[in-house]
C-alpha cells in the first residue's frame, strides 16, 4: 500500500507542481475529449455524405490543449493550423461554431462558409484567419508579435504548423526574423510523423525538428505530444520567456496522426495497420484519463456527466448547423474590399 500511495503522490504532484488545480486539468481533459468527439462526429457526417470534407485532429488533441492552456485566452493571439481543434476550442470557439463551419453555413464565424473546414479564424477570440498554403501563418505570427513589441503590450503570439510544413521557406524566414528582433512568439511544430503520405524520414534528415532552433539563436525543445502536462510546461516556460522580452522559442510536440490525412485520403497505401495500432495504444487522451482517474480528479460520476454534456453539445450543434441556412449566393460579391 505504501508503494501505491507514494506513486500516487508523485503523480498528483505533476499537475499541482505545474500550478494547475484539479478543475483546470479537468477542463483540459474536457477540451481534448470534446475535440476528439467533434472530429469523430464529423467523420460520421462525412461518411454519411452530409459534409464534403474533414481534416482530423485525432492524436494531436492532448498537445494542442496542453499548449493552449499555457496561454492567456484574454490577450494572447493564436494562429492555429487546420488540425488545431483543441487549440480553437480552448481559445473560445464553440462546438456550434465548428459545426457551422463543417456545414459551410452563413453563421460560421470562421468564414461564413467561404473556406473549407479547418481554416480557422475568429477575431473576437484572437484566432487569426488562416489559409490553405501551409506555413504562411508563421510570418503573420511574427508580425503580430512585432505589434506587441511596438505597442509595448505583453501578449504573445502562438503559431502552430506540421513538421512537413517546417520545410517551407516561410518557417525559416519567420523564425529568423522573430529571433533577430527578439519577438514574443511561440513556434509549435506538431510533429505527427507524416505529411500526407510522406514519412518524417523523407521530410527531414535532422534528428529533431527542434534542432533547427539553434540556427536561429532561440531555445528549442522537443516534448511528448501524448503528455498534455509536458506540453503545457514547455509552452508555459516559453510564454514566460516571451513576456519577459527574451524572444521566441521553438517547441516540437511529437505525436502521431491517428487517421488518414483527411477524409479524401486513404492511408493504407503508405503505412501499415500495425504502425497505426501501436500509436493508438499511446493515445494521450486515454493515458491522460488514466492519470486523472489515478489522481482521483476524474471520478466515474464526472466522467458520465462529461460524456453526456459533450454528446448533447455535439448533437445540438449538428442539428443546428445542418438546419442553418447557407449564405445568400449573391453574398459572394461582398467583402472583396472594405465597404
Amino acid at each position: 500500500m505504501v508503494k501505491v500511495d507514494r506513486k500516487k503522490k508523485v503523480i498528483e504532484q505533476r499537475h499541482e507542481q505545474l500550478g494547475l488545480n484539479d478543475e483546470q486539468v479537468l477542463d483540459m481533459y474536457r477540451n481534448m475529449l470534446l475535440a476528439r468527439r467533434i472530429d469523430e462526429r464529423m467523420y460520421l457526417l462525412n461518411r454519411a455524405g452530409k459534409i464534403p470534407f474533414v481534416v482530423s485532429c485525432q492524436g494531436q488533441e492532448p498537445g494542442q490543449v496542453g499548449a493552449a492552456f499555457a496561454l492567456d485566452k484574454e490577450k494572447d493571439y493564436a494562429l492555429p493550423y487546420y488540425r488545431d481543434l483543441g487549440v480553437v476550442l480552448t481559445f473560445g470557439m464553440t462546438t456550434k461554431d465548428l459545426f457551422l463551419q463543417a456545414f459551410a453555413k452563413a453563421e460560421d464565424p470562421n468564414s461564413g462558409g467561404r473556406q473549407m473546414p479547418g481554416h480557422f479564424g475568429q477575431k473576437k477570440n484572437r484566432i487569426v484567419t488562416g489559409s490553405s498554403p501551409v506555413t504562411t501563418q508563421v510570418p503573420h505570427a511574427v508580425g503580430i508579435a512585432l505589434g506587441a513589441k511596438m505597442e509595448k503590450k505583453d501578449f504573445v503570439s502562438f503559431v502552430t504548423f506540421g513538421e512537413g510544413s517546417s520545410n517551407q521557406g516561410d518557417f525559416h524566414e519567420g523564425a529568423n526574423f522573430a529571433a533577430v528582433h527578439k519577438l514574443p512568439v511561440i513556434f509549435m511544430v506538431e510533429n505527427n510523423q507524416y505529411a500526407i503520405s510522406v514519412p518524417l524520414s523523407k521530410q527531414v534528415a535532422c534528428e529533431k525538428i527542434s534542432d533547427r532552433a539553434i540556427g536561429y539563436g532561440m531555445p528549442g525543445i522537443t516534448v511528448d505530444g501524448n503528455d498534455p502536462l509536458a506540453v503545457y510546461e514547455a509552452v508555459k516556460d516559453a510564454v514566460t520567456n516571451a513576456r519577459n522580452g527574451h524572444g521566441p522559442t521553438l517547441i516540437e510536440v511529437v505525436s502521431y496522426r491517428l487517421l488518414a490525412h483527411s477524409s479524401d485520403d486513404d492511408d493504407r497505401s503508405y503505412r501499415s495497420k500495425e504502425e497505426v495500432d501501436e500509436a493508438k495504444e499511446k493515445d494521450g487522451i486515454i493515458t491522460f484519463a488514466t492519470y486523472l482517474r489515478e489522481t482521483n480528479v476524474l471520478t466515474e460520476e464526472i466522467e458520465v456527466k462529461l460524456n453526456d454534456e459533450i454528446k448533447s453539445l455535439i448533437d445540438d450543434a449538428t442539428d443546428y448547423a445542418e438546419k442553418a441556412p447557407y449564405a445568400d449566393a449573391k453574398s459572394i460579391y461582398k467583402h472583396v474590399y472594405a465597404e
Binding site: 462558409g113 467561404r114 498554403p133
Partner: protein, 327 residues
C-alpha cells in the same frame, strides 16, 4: 481508339516519356508511394522506382528550384505542384529563373523543365483549391503555358512539354480529370505547343476559350444548333504565348466573338485575346467583344450555392452564346 479519362491521358504520357527517355523523372509531394493525391502518377513509382519518382519535402520553391537545377544539368524533370494554388511559393523560381535562364545566359544554358499543376474549380475546394493561376505567369517571355481540354490533347501536349527545350507550365483542370473522357491513340504522338485548335467549325459566332470551358461551349453549341445558331469554337490550348493568327482568323470568321475563362475577369488571359482582336480585326467585328468569366472576387467560396454562383457553367455559356448570336 481506346477511350481514356483526362487523368489517364496524363499518366499515360508520363509513363511513355519515362520509358522513352531515362532523363525524364517526376518530383513532387506525394507523387511516389501514394501516386499523387489525384493519382496522376499512379503506378510510376512501382515501375520506375523511388529515384525517378521522387517524393520531395513539402517545399514548392525547392521542387521548382531543384527541378530547374536538374534541367540545367541535362535532365528532364517533371515537377508536380499538388494544387496550382500552391505554386505561389515557387513564383520566384519560375519567373526569375526558369523563364530567364536561356535569355540571360545568351543561349549558353537552358531549362527544359515541365511543371504540372491541377487548377480550376467546381470541386468544393474553396478559395485555395480552385484557382486559375495562369494570368500570374502569362506575361513572362521564356515561359510557355499549356492548358489542354481533352484527353487527346493532354497526351500529345504533355509529351511535347516534356520534350520542349524550354520551361513549360502544364495546367490540368482538376474537375476534368475524371469528368472528361475521350479517344486517345496508343501510339506515340505529339501536338504543337503554341497552336490553338478549332474544336468546332461554325459560321455565326466565335467562341474562344480553353480548359473545361471548351466542353461547356461544345455542349451549348450542340443545343444552339437546333435553334439555328452555328458556333465556331477555338480552343486556345496554349495560353502563353498566344496563337495570334488562329485568334485573328477565328474572330474574323464570324465577326461576333465571345471569350470565356473560368478565371476572374479583370486581368485574365482573355483580356489579351480581346486586345489582339481589337488591334487586328476591329473592322471585321459585327458586335462588341463579349467576355464571360468568373467574378472579380478573390476565389470561389466553399459552400455549394456560393461556389455555383462563381463558376462558369454550361447554362451561363449557352446564354452568353445565344445573346451574342442575337446581337
Amino acid at each position: 481508339m481506346p477511350v481514356k479519362s483526362y487523368i489517364q491521358a496524363i499518366t499515360l504520357a508520363l509513363r511513355e516519356e519515362m520509358e522513352r527517355d531515362e532523363k525524364v523523372f517526376v518530383l513532387g509531394e506525394d507523387v511516389g508511394v501514394r501516386g499523387g493525391v489525384f493519382r496522376a502518377t499512379e503506378g510510376l513509382y512501382e515501375q520506375f522506382g523511388s529515384e525517378r519518382v521522387l517524393d520531395t519535402p513539402l517545399a514548392e520553391s525547392a521542387i521548382a528550384g531543384v527541378g530547374i537545377g536538374a534541367a540545367m544539368y541535362g535532365m528532364r524533370p517533371i515537377a508536380e505542384m499538388q494544387f496550382a494554388d500552391f505554386i505561389m511559393p515557387a513564383v520566384n523560381q519560375i519567373i526569375s529563373e526558369a523563364a530567364k535562364i536561356r535569355y540571360r545566359s545568351n543561349n549558353d544554358w537552358s531549362c527544359p523543365i515541365t511543371i504540372r499543376a491541377p487548377y480550376g474549380g467546381g470541386v468544393h475546394g474553396a478559395l485555395y483549391h480552385s484557382q486559375s493561376i495562369e494570368s500570374v505567369f502569362a506575361n513572362q517571355p521564356g515561359l510557355k503555358i499549356v492548358m489542354p481540354s481533352t484527353p487527346y490533347d493532354v497526351k500529345g501536349l504533355l509529351k511535347s512539354a516534356i520534350r520542349d527545350e524550354d520551361p513549360v507550365l502544364f495546367l490540368e483542370h482538376k474537375r476534368a480529370y475524371r469528368l472528361i473522357k475521350g479517344e486517345v491513340p496508343d501510339e506515340d504522338y505529339t501536338l504543337p505547343i503554341g497552336k490553338a485548335d478549332v474544336k468546332r467549325e461554325g459560321s455565326d459566332i466565335t467562341v474562344i476559350t480553353y480548359g473545361l470551358c471548351v466542353h461547356f461551349a461544345l455542349q451549348a453549341a450542340d443545343k444552339l444548333e437546333a435553334e439555328g445558331i452555328d458556333a465556331h469554337i477555338l480552343d486556345l490550348r496554349t495560353v502563353y504565348p498566344l496563337d495570334k493568327e488562329a485568334i485573328i482568323e477565328a474572330a474574323s470568321k464570324t465577326g461576333k466573338v465571345l471569350l470565356i475563362t473560368e478565371d476572374n475577369l479583370e486581368g485574365s488571359i482573355i483580356g489579351e485575346v480581346a486586345a489582339i482582336i481589337s488591334e487586328h480585326c476591329l473592322f471585321d467585328l459585327d458586335a462588341p467583344i463579349k467576355r464571360l468569366a468568373g467574378p472579380d472576387v478573390p476565389s470561389m467560396p466553399y459552400a455549394p450555392p456560393l461556389e455555383k454562383e462563381f463558376m462558369v457553367n454550361p447554362d451561363k455559356v449557352e446564354k452568353a452564346m445565344r445573346d451574342l448570336a442575337e446581337f
